[in-house]
Symmetry: C2
Subunit: 219 residues, 2 copies
């Protein structure tokens, strides 16, 4: 029996982008189901009753929640093509550390850039730049975060790239002069087929952000 793979997702979500890219890296076809986060569907509530959040990966009827966990699940379920995590336990721990860092630190800083105003927004911007510099220093002169191969940390971070223009516009700053190596890395990733296929265009995200700010009562 062929695998039935469904993804409950929302197009500007950098978390959803991870799962789309990971599935594409494994050449897994999936049924993409766009969700309205302001009017949650019964399938979303049923499949992720704890967090009620996208993305939800549904594989043969069974849900997997949380995007980093989905990447590992995808890697373990379809291990042959394009391994996403390194095989060495120490390298795996390092990859997980940076994935966790992106979720714990980077997301909350960007949340302040698009979801706050004034001083709070300014603080988010400053922190975001510091965090990107930490990531730039971890990347160093490597092609990808894991070295020669596109993988877990690249997938965890690249979705934010589609929001860079929106952050820059809202915060009135430029990322590339601050983090030239990270910017080059992002452009390199963006040329990869899986990323090109599933990362939305920057201008589409930039147009969407004021709508989002209106919806949450900021503008």
């Amino acid at each position: 029996m062929a695998d039935e793979v469904i993804l409950l997702d929302f197009w500007p979500s950098m978390f959803g982008m991870r799962t789309r890219i990971a599935l594409e890296e494994k050449n897994i076809k999936f049924d993409y189901r766009e969700q309205d986060l302001f009017n949650k569907s019964s399938i979303l509530l049923e499949m992720n009753p704890v967090h009620k959040k996208i993305p939800v990966l549904i594989h043969n009827g069974k849900p997997v929640c949380e995007s980093l966990i989905q990447i590992e699940y995808i890697d373990e379920t379809w291990p042959t093509k394009n391994p996403l995590l390194p095989s060495d336990p120490y390298q795996r721990a390092q990859a997980r550390f940076w994935g966790d860092f992106i979720d714990k630190k980077v997301y909350s800083a960007t949340r302040l850039i698009w979801g706050a105003k004034g001083e709070e927004q300014e603080e988010g911007k400053k922190e975001f730049i510091e965090l990107l510099k930490t990531l730039e220093s971890e990347l160093g002169d490597k092609i990808y975060f894991g070295g020669e191969t596109f993988g877990y940390v690249d997938i965890a971070l690249i979705g934010f790239y589609s929001w860079f223009e929106a952050y820059e516009k809202l915060g009135n700053f430029s990322i590339e002069p601050e983090c030239p190596k990270l910017s080059a890395w992002a452009k390199r990733c963006a040329q990869r087929e899986s990323v090109a296929k599933f990362l939305p265009a920057s201008d589409k995200v930039t147009k969407f952000v004021p709508e989002l700010r209106k919806k949450i009562g900021l503008e």
Copy 2:
């Protein structure tokens, strides 16, 4: 060459307890180094420059940070004795989901019980009980979270048990009548050798909490 394993830790940390228990489950001897979190050591700052937090597991000179990542690292490095994660990818994803839930939700609720006052503390208490009920429902009638075998989710959660008495005293409530199955699970885990050896006594934690509240300016 024998493995050199060092753990930078702080005795009341439920995160540190995870790593101690996981190492003991694998029968790995380690050099425990108690840290002063109000006066951080140079080894802590050097080994975890990003978060500057305990626990840090140092294996043959190389640091692994973040306790859930440490459990996976320990399981992958010493896979033979007492596997901590299930082998099935879906079960692994479920275990990771609950570990992540404990870190994202349970810890922040307990943080309000011991690290806040008045209404905020009350809210933390209510949320904590709801979260424990969600965990109790996930546990159901199983012996451990993974079924018959003590593992990842049990290790992720059991450290909080040593704080139960402190939470109850601060919040003036009782956990056992709210969550009888979870309480029975905790008692079952506490009898296990690895847990008995590394979980501090409840009354020691209960005595420590007012000191902690004083240190952070709450009392």
